[in-house]
């Protein structure tokens, strides 16, 4: 292996190693029952991200210098049996390096912001433990070259997001909303899990290279045609829809704003919400397997975008308005992917993530600025609808307003047709079970648990 390729492999690992080591430090502190102070935590975060970023930038420079467009880093076969092959592998290419550098830059900004924003907050250490888990998950998912590696990162991102939504845990609504988001994430995890299985069935391995060829992204070798690939594409789209809050899963996005502002910025303004789009970019050749799938992706993206635009217009708090504005752009990015504009989608994603992070971080100050503005002009600034809204019949305007205010009725539809029947079914089964147990035990009521 040429020297620069060995160096690239080493640098690739150096991107992942610092976040893993950071998490290990927090784990050791937990085992030793030590509480880390704010200053060391801040330094650890900045040091970790700086090291990873340095490795990522160095890897990019070397790849450009040596004109290497694709470099796979095999970590060996984790599990190998004649019928199953679990492999962890990273890849350095335009997509992975762009996304990992975006992750690291934004996490560095958010990390620095959070050390001040959460100063003396009771959950300071908890926030940064979850932040470290998120960082490791994002880096792992960004660099993944096998579906298992992606899944590992994907799950870490999901868990850390949910626990950060419930960060202000003394209030009742953050944990409740966190649980709702977790339910959606678990549903999309099922889709990703099934996609992984299908990939193993098709290729005998979970490598993306096996699936789309080892040409540098976005080029791909084989022509992927057949119902298997369409099915695979559908599963990937469902997984991406859950993670990126596309229709019909959009209801969780405003709920996720319960978390602290830095986490909202990094998760729902920038990185986490784009992870679905990243997944579709990674497996984009699979989408090409069927024109219907491409059309479905475009329709999904555009309808999400239209929905988010409408819902965002009636939001009364800045974080929710920004969340829907973010979703509007994510929908367009998804549509771009469906149309086959991969580079455009990547550029759009990178630019949008940076812009939205800064907007989210400005959100608390923006309110302050707004108040100052109101005081200065002596009244509220005039808000006028855009021209096409005023041309609509008044009934349609009212309907659209209600539709937007109720966020497309998505939450209530899911609650009415999925959540409630599920709970009702299992509650009735529980009742039957309890009655049956009482009959068997021959008592009118069950004995309460007493001792552990």
């Amino acid at each position: 292996m040429p020297a620069h390729e060995s160096l690239l492999s080493w640098l690739g690992l150096m991107i992942v190693a610092p976040p893993a080591a950071l998490l290990a430090v927090f784990f050791a502190a937990f085992l030793l029952n030590r509480r880390l102070q704010e200053e060391p935590i801040g330094r650890l975060i900045q040091g970790t991200i700086s090291l990873s970023l340095l490795a990522a930038v160095s890897a990019s420079v070397i790849m450009l210098w040596h004109r290497v467009a694709h470099h796979a880093i095999e970590l060996g076969d984790w599990v190998i049996t004649p019928h199953y092959h679990l492999k962890f592998e990273f890849v350095l290419d335009l997509l992975s390096l762009s996304y990992v550098m975006l992750t690291l830059v934004l996490c560095a900004v958010i990390g620095a912001f959070s050390t001040r924003y959460l100063h003396r907050e009771r959950g300071y250490q908890r926030f940064f433990v979850l932040f470290a888990l998120f960082l490791l998950g994002m880096v792992t998912a960004s660099l993944s070259d096998t579906v298992e590696t992606l899944f590992a990162g994907w799950e870490m991102v999901g868990l850390s997001s949910v626990l950060l939504i419930a960060f202000f845990q003394e209030r009742p609504s953050p944990p409740r909303n966190g649980l709702r988001v977790w339910v959606v994430y678990r549903i999309c995890d099922v889709a990703l899990m099934l996609a992984a299985i299908l990939m193993h069935e098709i290729n005998g391995a979970g490598d993306f290279d096996h699936l789309v060829g080892d040409k540098a992204w976005p080029a791909h070798d084989p022509l992927l045609i057949g119902p298997h690939f369409t099915m695979l594409g559908v599963l990937f789209v469902i997984a991406a829809a859950g993670k990126s809050a596309l229709i019909p899963f959009s209801g969780w996005l405003p709920r996720a704003m319960e978390g602290p502002t830095p986490s909202s910025a990094v998760f729902y303004g920038a990185l986490s919400v784009h992870l679905g789009a990243f997944l579709l970019l990674r497996v984009s050749p699979v989408l090409d397997s069927s024109i219907w799938l491409q059309v479905a992706v475009v329709v999904l993206g555009l309808s999400t975008s239209a929905f988010a635009y409408l819902a965002g217009r009636v939001q009364t708090d800045i974080k929710s308005a920004l969340a829907f504005a973010s979703l509007t752009q994510v929908g367009i990015i998804i549509a771009e992917i469906g149309l086959g504009f991969r580079y455009l989608a990547l550029l759009h994603l990178l630019g949008h993530a940076c812009l939205r992070t800064l907007q989210f971080l400005r959100a608390p100050s923006l309110l302050h600025d707004h108040h100052q503005l109101e005081n200065a002009i002596g009244s509220r600034p005039r808000e006028e609808g855009v021209m096409w809204e005023q041309r609509l019949p008044i009934k349609v305007q009212h309907w659209l307003y209600r539709f937007a205010l109720e966020r497309g009725y998505l939450d209530s539809i899911l609650e009415k047709w999925v959540a409630r029947p599920f709970v009702a079914l299992f509650r009735s089964l529980d009742g039957l079970e309890t009655r049956w147990a009482r009959i068997l035990d021959g008592e009118p009521k069950t004995k309460e648990a007493r001792d552990p």
């Binding site: 599990v79 003394e170 648990a449």
Partner: protein, 444 residues
């Protein structure tokens, strides 16, 4: 002297019996706890040595073979964690005696090669929870009915093991012991009526899995298929029920049902991949669920019976237990980086041969369990924190328990490849044996 030639297995078995006798004669609970703890630590060391040792043992019918070797330290640790998680105020000499006897039964059963002995040990194992239920004045009828049926089916099945009807009876007995729907009513009852520790050490060693592997190598495919469907239904049902429970004990009981059914399902696949997954899941599920129970018991010792109807806000007072609850809970559903990740992946991938629908059902069961765990976590550890006048910090005993569990759950994840390789070898041997040997009979 060569250490590997020492009779480690025999020492483990002897020590657990001696421990039971010694605990029975101690009157002071504190002394009984310390004595029992000492015995279990030594048993853990001996069991680990037995699993590593290559020498032949002294006892004719017991041996740490490929199947038993990794389970010896796992089962010893399970019993040790059970004791570590028991509050000092709740420990009694009687509890210690039962725990040591249960240790003996588990270790003996897992290493026993004689079918009649295994059947006897399974029957004896049933009596320990009954003793506990009876001594606490809890309702025993439901448990007794189920377990009587289990014993009858087990003995009859073993008697006629060379005939299809015998195999069917054996299979039914083992499914009943695993709490298959609709014969699962005894599991929630046991967790509600008996001491948590007693219920744990009866359910978590998954003796039905062991018995299925030892006693049922020749079951016809249609029977295994039918059993696997029943297991799959139970896994999904248990997961769904765990989500809607309002009491922690019932939540835990249903979670156990779901998880143990997944292991049994993997056994019933009777393929190389399926058996490998079963053997790995057996280890990971037992340890992860034991860790989860450890947190729940520590909470119950502080706050009494726990409800999931409202948010309790215990995180601020016992953050260590909150973290332990979360990581063990997630490990049980196969969260990446933990001991359960690779086994769960293996199971779901191994089920592909049965069709994508089966994989889908497994993924749904895992999804339900994951949702149930986070719901319970939020209910227990978030919310307005209660004010107390006494310190609720974790005790040194609990701290050791948390360290042991956390290290096991995470390091187990990193050592998964080695474990999977060895379990795969064992699975292949089991399949090979099934192809060559005759069905077990009662006449040996």
């Amino acid at each position: 002297m060569n250490l590997s030639s020492l009779p480690w297995l025999e020492l483990s078995l002897l020590l657990s019996l001696v421990g039971a006798v010694v605990a029975a004669f101690i009157k002071m609970p504190g002394l009984a706890l310390r004595t029992c703890l000492g015995f279990l630590l030594v048993i853990l060391l001996c069991a680990t040595a037995a699993s590593l040792s290559t020498g032949a043992g002294w006892l004719k019918h017991f041996a740490a073979d490929d199947l038993a070797a990794p389970m010896l330290p796992v089962l010893s640790m399970l019993h040790l964690v059970t004791l570590l998680g028991t509050a000092k105020s709740r420990v009694s000499p009687l509890f210690c005696t039962r725990l040591m006897l249960a240790t003996f039964v588990s270790l003996a059963a897992v290493t026993c090669h004689e079918p009649w002995m295994l059947v006897s040990l399974l029957v004896i194992g049933v009596l320990l929870p009954l003793w506990d239920l009876h001594s606490r004045g809890s309702a025993t009828r439901g448990y007794l009915i189920h377990m009587s049926l289990f014993i009858v089916l087990l003995v009859l099945g073993w008697q006629f093991a060379h005939k299809p009807i015998g195999i069917a009876l054996l299979l039914l007995a083992l499914l009943l012991r695993g709490g298959i729907v609709p014969l699962h009513g005894w599991v929630p009852t046991l967790f509600q009526g008996a001491a948590y520790g007693t219920a744990m050490i009866f359910v978590l060693p998954l003796m039905e899995v062991l018995a299925a592997l030892r006693l049922l190598p020749h079951a016809p495919e249609w029977m295994l298929n039918a059993a696997s469907i029943a297991c799959l239904i139970t896994a999904v049902y248990g997961g769904g029920m765990a989500i809607v429970q309002n009491e922690v004990r019932k939540f835990y009981a249903h979670l156990c049902l779901s998880q143990t059914s997944l292991v049994m399902f993997a056994v019933m696949l009777h393929t190389s991949n399926g058996l490998t997954a079963a053997l790995c899941l057996w280890i990971s599920s037992s340890l992860a669920l034991a860790g989860l129970a450890f947190s729940v018991r520590a909470l119950e010792a502080r706050f009494g019976a726990l409800s999931l109807r409202e948010h309790h806000g215990y995180y601020e007072q016992v953050p260590g237990l909150a973290i332990c609850f979360l990581i063990t809970g997630l490990a049980s559903v196969g969260f990446p980086g933990t001991i359960g990740f690779v086994p769960m992946e293996l199971l779901i991938s191994g089920s592909v041969e049965q069709g994508l629908g089966v994989s889908f059902a497994l993924a749904i069961a895992a999804m339900f369990n994951g949702i149930a765990i986070l719901r319970a976590y939020f209910a227990l550890f978030t919310g307005k924190r209660p004010t107390t006048s006494v310190s609720l910090q974790k005790t040194p005993q609990e701290r050791i328990g948390i360290i042991v569990i956390a290290l096991t759950v995470f390091l187990g994840g990193w050592f998964s490849p080695g474990v999977v390789a060895s379990r795969h070898e064992t699975a292949d041997k089991l399949l090979e044996r099934a192809g060559k040997q005759e069905a077990p009979t009662s006449k040996h």
